[in-house]
Each structure stands twice: as C-alpha cells, then as structure tokens.
Amino acid sequence: MLPPIVGVLFDGFAYGMLLFLLSIGQSVTLGMMNFINLAHCAFAMLGGYVTVTLVNGYGWPFFAALPVAFAAAALASIVFERLLYRRLYKATDLDQVLLTIGITFMSVAVAAYIFTTAQQPVQLPSYLRQSIEILGLRLAVYRLILIALSLIITGVLVAALEYTRFGAQVRAAVDNERMARGLGINVDRTFAITFALGSGLAGLGGALAIEIVGLDPSFAFTYLVYVLIVVSVGGLGSIRGSFAAAAVLGISDIAGKYYVPQAGAFFIYLVMISLLMWRPAGLFGRR
C-alpha cells in the first residue's frame, strides 16, 4: 500500500508536465532572441479551442484533434511572427511586453466573442476517463497518458537539440546570437522555425489542459503567469531547467492546494521571488 502523498505527487507531476508543454516554447524563444512574448498562452488557448471545436462540433476523436491543435497554433504563430514580432526584435523590453499584452487582450476578446465566457468541456472517449489501480493507488489514465506524452516529447526535443544539425544551430543562436550570425547561420529562419515549434507545443499543451484545468477565455492570462514562473525559474533556453521548474511548480501547487488550501497560490509566488533573488538567471540559466 502506498501513502496518499504518492497520489499528490503523481497529480502534481502530471500538472507539472502540462506546464512544461505550455512553457518550453517560451523558454527557447526568450533565450534565443530575448523576445518577451506574453502572448504565448494565447497560442495555447487557440490549440484548446481548435480541439474543442473539432471534438465536440465535428465528432473527431480526441487524439486525431491533437496534431491539428499543434498545427493551428504553429501556423498562427508564423503569421504573427512575420507580421508583427519581427519588427520588434531589437526593440525595448517595454515595447515587446506591450505588443504581446495587446495581442493577448485581443485573443481573450475574440475567444469570448466566438465561444462565450463559459467553460468549454471536451468529450473524451470513455477509456480515457477511467483510472487504474496500482498498489492501492488510483491513477487516472488521462494523467498517465499526459505524463507519457510529455516524457516522449521531452526526449525527442533533447535528442533533436543535441544530435541534429538544426539543433546545433539553435544552441549556437541561444549561446551567442551575433557569433552564430557571423558563422553564417540564418538566425532569423532558425528562430522562426523554433518559434513555430514552441507555439505548436503550447497549442498541444492547451489541448491537453482542457481536461485538467478547463478552458475559458481567461486561460491566456491565468497560465501566462505560470509559464513565466517556469521560464524565469528554470532559466532561459534550457529544456532541463524548464522541465525541473515545471515539475517542482506543479507538485508544489497541487501539494499546497491539498495540504494548505487557505494559503492559495501564496507559496508559489514566494518561492519564485526567493529563487529569482538567489539566481536571477534561473536555476539552469547561464546568463
């Protein structure tokens, strides 16, 4: 028999993996171009709404809708990158923050206009709603799949970054953008592709998040805070850092809500502030 704390750890880790999927794109784009994209969760929200529309409206199976959510968020991000973001790579922090907050405001309003402000449930197949029992502990199948999927994605990402030519270009651009340009790496193109990939992963995260945290237009702002915490605590451009930060954040959030419900999110913010003061560049950050 396992004590209930294992169940809390399991739920917390699943939640953390969700946060990891939502924030990994943000971490890499911030590390690479120093571009503060506060609209990142708007792309995640887009993925969520695409899934809801396909599954509930057109009767698609849930797993078939996930790649579409990924593609939709990636495509939308390419359009925005081309039209707006590209102009502001060399601009100040403030301009970037303002532009992307503006886009987030607009996305929230559009989502409320099309889907109303009500929570959107997603119809999952029945086998995903079940739970299995291991050593007296009930584990939800959906969360198990979520964890497995996130671990696979992490593995693929790490391998791609370490062993492919494109991954080497990304690492070079994160380490030293000017030097990478000097060596003839097309940093803008590398960045655009990375940006689209990161947004696509956010879209996938948004689609997977519906069952765990629900989906309404305020998603873009609520999870933005969590994503920023993961990114700044984990360190910019570091997959390992984001993974560790997301896992810690997810577990401490669920454990906090389970054991000290009256404190709310207080501890998370406190931990974030202390960690940032201790290491301003994040746990695994180098700058």
Binding site: L94, I101, A109, F221, I229, L270
Partner: protein, 329 residues
C-alpha cells in the same frame, strides 16, 4: 556658438525646462471645466483624476528611470487598504488618511526597492509581477482584515477639512482628487526638472555608466521607487475615501497592466503622458464598456498594437513630432 548662447549654464538649462508653457496652464484650467460642463459625470472625472495620479507615479519609475513594473497596483492597493482600514476603525479624516496611506505604501516601496534596484530586464519584470501577485494573495487570504473577495466594507470618510461633505454627485470628490493630483503633480514636475531628475534619465539610458559620472544608480532608483510607491498609495487612498469601499481588484494584475497601457498610450517619459493617457483610456472605457466589456478588451489590445508599431512615443510623442514638423515647414 548658437549652442552656448541658448544654454549658458546647467542652472539656466534646468530653469528653461521648468518654465510653465501656455499649453500647460490651459490644460490645468480645462480640468476645472467638468464642474460646469459635465456635472453629471463628476464621479467619472474624479476616477480619472485618481487614475491620472496613479499613472503619474508609474511614469516616474518607468518613463524616467526605465524600471518596467508589472506590479505597480501593489502600492495602489496598499494605500487603498491603509486608508480604508484607518477609516473603518474610527479615523475617517481624509487628509491624514492620505498621509498614512502614503507612509504605508512608501514603507512597502522602500523595503522592496532594495531588491528592485539590483535587477534589470526579465528578472525585474518578473519580480515586480511576483510582488504584485504575492500582495494580492496576501490580501485575499487575510480575509479577517481585508474582507477578502467581498471587499472592505464599513468605510466612512469624514467631511473634508471639517466642512465639505462627500456628496452623491461627486463635487467634493472631484475637487478633492483634482487638488491632490495638482499638488503632487507640482512635486513631480519639480523633481523631474531637478538635477536628480536628469540623473534618472541618465540611468534610464545607461544604468552602468551613470556611477562613473558620480550618480549612484542604485541609490537613485531606491529613492524614486519609494517616492513613486508613496504616490501610488495616495492614489489608492483617494479611491478608497471617495468610493468608501476597497476591493481585491485594487491589487490585481489587470490594474497594473491597464495602468501600463494608459501610460504608454499617453506617452511614457513625459509629465503629461500619464494624465493624457488616463483621460483617453477612462473616457473611452466609459463609452465602450457600456455595450459589452469583452469588446472593450479587443479594442484596447488593438490600440496597444497600433501604438507600439506606429506611435512609439504615445499620443504626446506623436503630437510633438507633428508640431516639430509644422514648425520646420
């Protein structure tokens, strides 16, 4: 040669900057117009004056010292709760309430300024955001003191100066808010046109080099951050006293974000930027949000994108460019 004729000494340069221009005098005279022209909208006008003061406080740190804050509502809320609690527990005298709120917010600002002054860029933005969220959570969980999500009830503001009572139409509220705004604006104006104000602009442009010419960057940032926090606290206290209620909303991230929007809309780094931004933003919100609040956010977002891409220095920056072109022609 022409340069030495126009700018003789540093003192003369600063004096030239601080000379009152006709447009400024016209602006302040125009703020009196609502008493006669829009007597039905005086409570909106007092809200605008309070928000303008809040925006001015952010302008001091963001526009002049270059500290991007996503959590300035922390000080606004601290001031509001300080004044509200003071009044709830038996002391409703408005002016001393303002002083108490300024002190309280100033103390919180001074305590956090030691951390703020050490960081730049993303870490700074995240820390200001984190402090704002932390204070919001604190007020939320301390329901016995703040009333939690129901808001702080039972505030009663005494007559202003023992004579003017806060009427339903907002005559006293607007007069009071406007007077406080004007007095603190004069203070901010004096501050900005002092050598200290010049040093702040230097810090905004290059944080590392200012110490080399004898301006201690961190000490200056601490000073201006504390002043700005106290000013934001006064704005919060004004809101608490004139509306006789304080809600958690006064500490929220949305309030900090909206404030940033207003300031940038008007033009950061200009004394009147926050004031103009607050007027445009609040009047527009009053007009649009009656229809459907969600649409309002769409337009404010669109406005932000347009301002950042086409009007980098806000409305006032755009106007300055047009007048400069017109003068040259």
């Amino acid at each position: 040669m022409a340069l030495t004729e126009t700018i003789r000494t540093p003192q003369a340069y600063l004096q030239g900057l601080s000379r009152w221009r006709p447009a400024e005098i016209a602006f302040w005279l125009a703020t009196l117009l609502p008493f006669w022209l829009f007597p039905d909208y005086l409570s909106l006008a007092s809200q605008i004056a309070i928000t303008a003061l809040f925006a001015l406080s952010l302008d001091l740190i963001l526009g002049y010292a270059g500290i991007v804050s996503l959590g300035h509502a922390a000080f606004f809320g601290t001031g509001a709760y300080a004044a509200g609690l003071l009044s709830k527990y038996g002391w409703g005298e408005p002016l001393s309430g303002l002083v108490a709120a300024a002190l309280m917010a100033g103390i919180v600002g001074y305590a956090t300024s030691f951390i703020i002054a050490r960081f730049r860029h993303l870490a700074l933005i995240m820390l200001t955001l984190g402090f704002g969220l932390l204070l919001g959570e604190l007020a939320n969980s301390a329901g016995w003191l703040t009333g939690g999500v129901d808001g702080l009830q039972g505030i009663h503001t005494w007559h202003l100066l023992g004579y003017f009572h806060f009427d339903l139409y907002g005559y006293t509220a607007y007069g009071y808010a406007l007077a406080v705004l004007f007095v603190l604006f004069l203070g901010a104006r004096r501050l900005i046109h002092s050598p200290f104000g010049l040093a702040l602009r230097g810090i905004r442009e290059n944080w590392l080099r200012m110490p080399a010419i004898g301006a201690p960057s961190r000490a200056h940032i601490r000073t201006i951050y504390t002043i700005s926090a106290a000013m934001a606290g006064v704005a919060g206290a004004l809101l608490a006293q004139t509306t006789e209620t304080v809600s958690l909303d006064s500490l929220s991230f949305e309030r900090s974000a909206e404030l940033l929007v207003m300031l940038v809309l008007g033009g950061a780094g200009r004394l009147y930027g926050g004031l103009v931004g607050a007027i445009v933003f609040m009047v527009a919100r009053d007009r649009f949000s009656g229809v459907e609040p969600q649409y309002w956010y769409f337009w404010i977002g669109a406005l932000l994108v347009v301002v950042v891409i086409f009007l980098p220095n806000g409305i006032l920056g755009g106007m300055a460019k047009i007048t400069a072109r017109w003068r040259k022609a």
